[in-house]
Subunit: 308 residues, 2 copies
């Protein structure tokens, strides 16, 4: 009897596994190291072996994969971190396990995280969801009418590269300038704070450090430090600008904030709301905002959702 | 036998009708004046009467309505131009015609136009489509996986209000500044040209006029006039910025340009492409661009698509 679903969130360093029942209840989670040697050629068989240690493939209804690269129509287009070029995971993995009845689905990892939050996290009950993952970079995922939007070239939900900044023009890893990621990620918040420390003469506890984290900026901002708060406001205004563009495109029901920056808590949502409604009025007066609740498990839940 | 579909594109001045066969072949089109008196209370019965003159309701499979306001879940939320507040057209129209088997569907008119271009226009064969309608204002519609995205509050596809301009800050009718509509509509192009006529000393045939149309700006730009071309470039750069934001949200397969401004022809697409790829690289190297082909009929085709 096929009573399990397996979610596999493949990262550049670790592979996270979740064993779920058919209702999406997480029964067990574990992780292994990613071996990206030789263009990641052993990754799929490593995954198969790791699953075999926990259950039989004949017990599995399906396996959902989240991968760090663009995915369209169940086909991985490339994953630089894993050394993969275009890859038909469904076919290759089926061949490895030799169990044609196990359903294999693949999604981009950030998109899968959005699906996870909709399936079992804070966005449960919503069909139109936007997730922003604010960490070292900015990722995202978009769900319309309960369906992950992956885009024709698998690039839907790459929200970190919406252009919003025409002032600082920090260099983005993608080669462009002005990307949301350069001003609203943890790195971006620090960048902005450093600019403001030069621009303003005000005292600030941030001046004690030659380097500091986004968390420090949040902590001092919450205590009312002028430069820290100004920097958070600026970053959240950029984030609200991107949210406004997305709003006029798909008019979502809930916007979820995840990633390390979201640990700043409701303070971050208050700041976003302060700027967001200026962008979307008079068309609407309310969008739901929430902090992600599944943390690093969002991906495996989303992978489970692909199969459910 | 129910062998017809009727598309009804309800505008503030005219109501456009299309009689289609079940394959979406347009058999006949006609139009009537809109009577928006008394909060548009006679509009639906006027429509019913006009259809009766052409066919029997017992011959109709369904009627699709396009309306100039937000629509969510087949419910009109408001239509200022028609005097309508929240309105359940499906129920009211069914009551008027007393034919419960006639399917009634409703969509926003700009969204319907996008569906029309996908169904029978230039975007035929594509499932992921963005339509920009560049006229006096800027409207739009978005289709993901063959489905119109209407948004939770019916505001999806209001692409004219994506904020893109942080320089001119022209006043938008919506109350905000910086909206795409203020810089990329026919009005917006003229606004930019007027600014450039003051800013630059160059000779320009535009200086002969105290007032001029966007078409004039296009005509002189095509002839190589510096100020006219600079103005078109600027407007199309703003448009490309909005397209970039939409790209990273939903990664469409084709972007269609409709509305009066699109009569500038392929020149407009060359200008858009010049700026668009700067926004989306290195993620992709190609998106399809095309001029809308259905003109004012896009709406009725889209209304037909709602029923097909």
């Amino acid at each position: 009897m096929r009573e399990y679903i397996v979610g596999v969130d493949v990262g550049g360093t670790n592979i996270k596994f979740g064993k779920f029942d058919l209702e999406g209840e997480l029964l067990e989670r574990w992780s292994t190291r990613t071996n990206a040697n030789n263009n990641g050629e052993s990754i799929l068989s490593d995954i198969a072996n790791s699953i075999t240690e926990k259950m039989k493939f004949s017990e599995i209804k399906g396996i959902g994969f989240g991968v760090p690269g663009p995915v369209a129509n169940n086909m991985v287009l490339h994953c630089v971190n894993l050394g993969w070029a275009e890859k038909d995971i469904a076919k290759e993995f089926s061949d490895i396990i030799n169990e044609p009845d196990v359903i294999i689905k693949v999604a981009n990892d950030a998109n899968a995280a959005a699906a996870g939050e909709m399936y079992k996290g804070i966005a449960k009950g919503y069909d139109n969801v936007v997730l922003f993952t604010l960490g070292t970079g900015v990722g995202g995922g978009i769900i319309v009418d309960g369906k992950l939007v992956e885009g024709v070239q698998g690039v839907a939900g790459e929200l970190g590269h919406i252009q919003v900044d025409y002032k600082h023009y920090f260099q983005c890893k993608c080669g462009k300038k002005g990307c949301l990621e350069t001003v609203a990620s943890a790195t971006g918040i620090v960048n902005i704070a450093k600019v403001n420390l030069k621009k303003y003469k005000n005292q600030s506890p941030l001046r004690r450090f030659s380097n500091f984290s986004a968390k420090k900026v949040f902590d001092y901002a919450k205590e009312g430090d002028f430069i820290a708060e100004k920097s958070i406001d600026e970053a959240m205004r950029y984030l609200a600008t991107a949210m406004g563009s997305i709003f006029f495109s798909i008019n979502p029901e809930i916007i979820v904030i995840g990633g390390g920056v979201s640990y700043a808590g409701n303070y971050i949502i208050e700041k976003i709301e302060k700027y967001y409604y200026d962008k979307v009025r008079p068309f609407i007066t309310h969008t739901n905002f929430a902090l992600a609740t599944l943390g690093n498990d969002a991906g495996i839940y989303g992978c489970c959702y692909l199969i459910r």
